[in-house]
């Protein structure tokens, strides 16, 4: 059974059908990429999975539990962390306070402290800047903070929305290296990206999204070789 299963998901914004019946699944331990152009509906799908946006039809099942109607604030304690588009760190709070909020639903103080050390080990720059306000960090650092904050909930699955957005190529590589490490450490990853090449290079499988529909799916390595993908998303 898949860890996360999205079935016939439809989402409407007013009269616009943003998502027109999307199905996909994520198995435990996988890195799954959802690629597509701007406006394809990638962010909407993630927001619907974590309850920020209500679906019109379809189901989202996580570890056998139907979470379609579960409110957003109850999702994280089920073991799913969402790194939202544009990082959305709390700019007025310090790096440390942001990370603590990542562990908001947890009560095991000593485990949280261990987790914090782990995050600091993975992102040494966050440790250096732990007392700095998050709003004063650079884009790359904010992305690291958003990821670190998500990891503070000890998620089974981490869903990431455009982690490469607005970052320099060097930082994009760095962020994707970290995603690979997170995956290697046992966390399942669902990543949404416009940077298809980068996403496909780290993913096991991928789905290609076009205006609210999945038009193509398969092994990431095969999609990298697919002529239509190459043409539309890889700029070759």
């Amino acid at each position: 059974m898949a860890m996360l299963e999205v079935k016939d998901l439809k989402v409407n914004f007013g009269v616009i059908n943003a998502i027109k019946g999307v199905s996909f699944e994520v198995n435990e331990g996988e890195v799954i990429a959802l690629i597509g152009a701007n406006g394809a509906g990638k962010t909407t799908i993630l927001n619907t999975i974590t309850g920020l946006v209500a679906s019109a039809e379809g189901t989202v099942t996580f570890e056998g539990k139907d979470i379609t109607k579960v409110p957003a604030h109850q999702i994280v304690s089920l073991g799913m962390a969402h790194v939202p588009e544009g990082r959305r760190v709390f700019a007025e709070l310090s790096v440390y306070e942001n990370l603590k909020l990542g562990a908001y639903t947890r009560t095991d103080k000593s485990e949280i402290a261990k987790n914090l050390e782990m995050v600091y080990d993975r992102f040494p720059r966050l440790k250096e800047r732990r007392n700095q306000l998050a709003g004063t960090l650079s884009g790359g650092e904010q992305q690291m903070l958003a990821m670190g904050r998500a990891l503070m909930s000890q998620p089974k699955i981490i869903v990431m929305d455009e982690p490469s957005m607005g970052l320099s190529p060097i930082l994009v590589n760095e962020i994707f290296d970290i995603i690979e490490k997170v995956s290697a450490a046992g966390t399942t990853v669902l990543v949404v990206e416009q940077n298809a090449k980068k996403a496909l290079s780290i993913a096991d499988r991928a789905y290609v999204l076009e205006t609210g529909n999945i038009v193509l799916e398969g092994e990431a390595s095969q999609l990298l070789e697919d002529e239509s993908v190459k043409k539309a998303y890889l700029g070759e």
């Binding site: 974590t50 309850g51 920020l52 409110p71 957003a72 604030h73 109850q74 999702i75 994280v76 304690s77 962390a81 969402h82 939202p84 544009g86 959305r88 760190v89 709390f90 700019a91 007025e92 709070l93 306070e97 603590k100 909020l101 990542g102 908001y104 639903t105 904050r149 909930s153």
Partner: protein, 293 residues
């Protein structure tokens, strides 16, 4: 000497404004709305103290506690019934609703307690202090008011900085969606904010009516508006801003009354507000809001 005593009276009145302004500023920070019924919650709190102390002979401290409980519950209920259904409505709809709730509370009090002015007996048993050979008299109520205001301010700032619920409030005030992704229950946080603001309103009411011992259904209205002004003055959404705005407003009002004109004192207060907003549109401690790119 008279200047110092005016100043002390101003700080004391300003402390009351500051406590009321906290309710405005916290609710604005978290729920992004102006709760114009806040001043009338104060009035209800005063009536609770008045009825239970004067009418039922209840111990004043118990009565203040009861008033805090009543106002806390009232604030949460108002939010649930009147504002929560409008969470996604345009701000103007919420604003008009708040004004409606304000009129509702005033008329409710009119119906239950009548229009006549009740004379409120101070429930603060503190004698005046005479200094400098009786030339300077500091009222006991004024001192208690200032102390309570400082204690509330420090307690609130500690609560927000040091507790999980406080950090959740900051998170919600900055980004509701991101806060939810952390597991923060936004509705619960908004309720908590209304509860704290309204509980503080009860305390402000007792202090207000102890210093100015008349009580009518409109008692909360003017202090409410002045406290709102104080919140804007200090930078709405900012807790230290509410404190500074409240104190300054109180001082300006009392000094204006003493040295310029007692009829014009309110006009002076609002004129100062207008000038401050012209120079610093975000208020003294307010931060410029950056549009997210």
């Amino acid at each position: 000497m008279s200047f110092i005593s005016y100043l002390i009276n101003g700080i004391s009145l300003g402390s009351i404004y500051a406590i009321i302004a906290l309710g405005y500023t916290m609710v604005y920070g978290i729920a992004k709305m102006l709760n114009f019924a806040h001043g009338d919650v104060i009035m209800i709190g005063c009536y609770v103290v008045f009825t239970t102390v004067t009418g039922l002979g209840l111990n004043p401290y118990l009565s203040i506690l009861l008033s805090v409980i009543v106002c806390t519950v009232l604030g949460v209920v108002i939010e649930k019934i009147a504002y929560k259904p409008l969470r996604k409505a345009p701000p103007l709809a919420v604003l008009i609703t708040a004004i409606g709730v304000s009129y509702f509370l005033q008329n409710f009090a009119l119906l239950i307690f009548g229009a006549d002015t009740k004379s409120f007996t101070s429930v603060i048993p503190m004698n005046n202090i005479k200094l400098a050979g009786d030339k300077l008299v500091i009222s006991g109520v004024a001192m208690v008011t200032v102390c309570i205001c400082i204690v509330i301010m420090l307690a609130l700032m500690t609560f927000i900085k040091r507790t999980k619920a406080g950090q959740a409030m900051l998170a919600v005030s900055e980004d509701k969606d991101a806060a939810q992704l952390m597991g923060v229950n936004v509705n619960g946080t908004i309720s908590l904010t209304f509860a704290i603001g309204s509980g503080l309103a009860a305390i402000a009411g007792v202090l207000l009516c102890s210093a100015y011992p008349t009580l009518t259904p409109y008692t909360g209205s003017m202090p409410g508006i002045k406290a709102f002004t104080a919140a804007v003055f200090g930078g709405i959404g900012s807790i230290p801003g509410a404190f500074i705005g409240g104190i300054l407003l109180g001082i300006i009002e009392i000094l204006g009354k003493a040295y310029i004109s007692s009829q014009l004192s309110d006009a002076i207060v609002f004129a100062v507000l207008i000038i401050v907003l012209l120079v610093r549109p975000t208020g003294i401690l307010g931060k410029a809001v950056h549009e997210k790119v």
